[in-house]
Amino acid sequence: DVKVTQSSRYLVKRTGEKVFLECVQDMDHENMFWYRQDPGLGLRLIYFSYDVKMKEKGDIPEGYSVSREKKERFSLILESASTNQTSMYLCASSPWDRGPNQPQHFGDGTRLSIL
């Protein structure tokens, strides 16, 4: 089974801090994604990546950046954390070699609180 591991289940940080959320997948998937999930808003795509060192903006990239130096690892960076970035963050991966629109495999999420 595909395993997507997010480094922290819960994280508490202060406003203005630089925050790193890490995600690792073990199935050699080309595609990786970062979402945030808020009540009443569903999942919103922040950034995604098709390959190492490649990144594409999603719907809400402002205040975030990403890094993909290795195929299995996709990091989300909050450059200067703000309280409106308190949320559940979900990482996902999917293969490309079987074509587009493949099911995504999710990690268990990081619940981030910015104080």
């Binding site: 009443g40 569903g42 629109n101 999710f106 999420g109």
Partner: protein, 111 residues
């Protein structure tokens, strides 16, 4: 926005009953997927239906797709307490890997 919208927002049924959730979307799609999310966990893929398919089954799940109405439904038959979760539909952006998730239906199955 292409985001899907699920209906109802919340559903409560007795164990053994069937549960039906609906999803509406706005633009053309290649496929539509349904996911389940247990409380505090990530999403788990349930089923994918392609735009040229009208119905698909997987165990106790039945999904229908009506592209003319831009809508899909998920039916869970003979529900169990373990089916208690939130259910999301996801539509693609027609060119490839980006998906748009709805806001979900929260299903509670009462033992």
């Amino acid at each position: 926005s292409q985001q899907g919208e699920e209906d109802p927002q919340a559903l409560s049924i007795q164990e053994g009953e069937n549960a039906t959730m609906n999803c509406s979307y706005k633009t053309s799609i290649n496929n539509l997927q349904w996911y389940r999310q247990n409380s505090g966990r990530g999403l788990v893929h349930l089923i994918l239906i392609r735009s040229n398919e009208r119905e698909k089954h997987s165990g106790r799940l039945r999904v229908t797709l009506d592209t003319s109405k831009k809508s899909s439904s998920l039916l869970i038959t003979a529900s169990r307490a373990a089916d208690t979760a939130s259910y999301f539909c996801a539509t693609d952006n027609f060119t490839g890997n980006q998906f748009y998730f709805g806001t979900g239906t929260s299903l509670t199955v009462i033992p």
